[in-house]
Symmetry: C2
Subunit: 132 residues, 2 copies
DNA sequence: CTACGATCTACAGTCACTGTAGGAGCAAGC
DNA sequence: GCTTGCTCCTACAGTGACTGTAGATCGTAG
């Protein structure tokens, strides 16, 4: 169905990254053509899509691995998935708080810069006074 | 004033990381005691605090380097600082959007998990349907 | 003076990729 | 049939931003 390059384009992943995911076991070993080339289908495309989303959103490879394992036998403990989600929820909320503060500081800083006087430039200060 | 360990505790940085910042030139070469130990004062503590904030908020070392250089001669081009800020503003806003969506999905997932039926667990789906 | 913790240098290891070298598969055009 | 040119292959080195470890030295409290 899909060559590795097609899959890469479809999911916005580098070819090397897909091979890397196979190597570390995040993606299953791909079926090969007689010529030795990896071929993929829809299930693999969906799994890779999931991995990319999760990575972009700050999940570590180990967390993704456990989520995939969990979904492989969904009759198993739901609490484990819930625990993973809860652990992330707190840190996601913290990141949102700090990013909103940064956004406000950055937009204020760019506004004062646009206005023009050099002495009005508060970019450094805006960033420096960010909450921890 | 401050030994490297004190500075580390005050800024929530690892001792090795402070030495690393000195090595790559993010922090100035520290003044040493006769015994060869690094000593720091308030300006260094503030600079390290700035670096940590900026790192946590997703600025790369190179960007931080340019911001520090900028603040060293603040009579210089304000537009450059503004450009750095603006470049970040867009990506910060994008990250906020996606994280808010993730937060909602995660909290929905944990709620349905708490409720208890295993078949109700939607953690994988919640994450998978995240917007790119 | 000795024991102990903090610091020193130097370097190897980690995580999650990313890039490169050198070779092979394969469809299209001559 | 042969060449051109693209995609793919393996294998491995490099990146960014740290983090950890080994072995030596400093400095102070008991």
């Amino acid at each position: 169905m899909l060559m590795i390059g097609d899959l890469a384009r479809r999911t916005g992943t580098k070819v090397n990254t897909i091979r890397f995911y196979e190597e570390i076991g995040l993606m299953p070993k791909a079926v090969r053509t007689s010529g030795g080339r990896r071929i993929y289908g829809e299930p693999q495309a969906r799994q890779l899509g999931f991995i990319r989303h999760a990575r972009e959103l700050g999940f570590s490879v180990e967390e993704i691995r456990s989520l995939i394992a969990l979904s492989a036998n969904p009759d198993q403990d739901c609490n484990e998935a819930g625990a993973i989600a809860r652990r992330h929820l707190a840190s996601v909320e913290d990141r949102i708080t700090r990013l909103v503060a940064l956004r406000d500081a950055l937009s204020a800083a760019t506004r004062s810069c646009d206005g023009g006087r050099i002495s009005d430039c508060r970019v450094m200060e805006a960033i420096t006074i960010m909450p921890a």
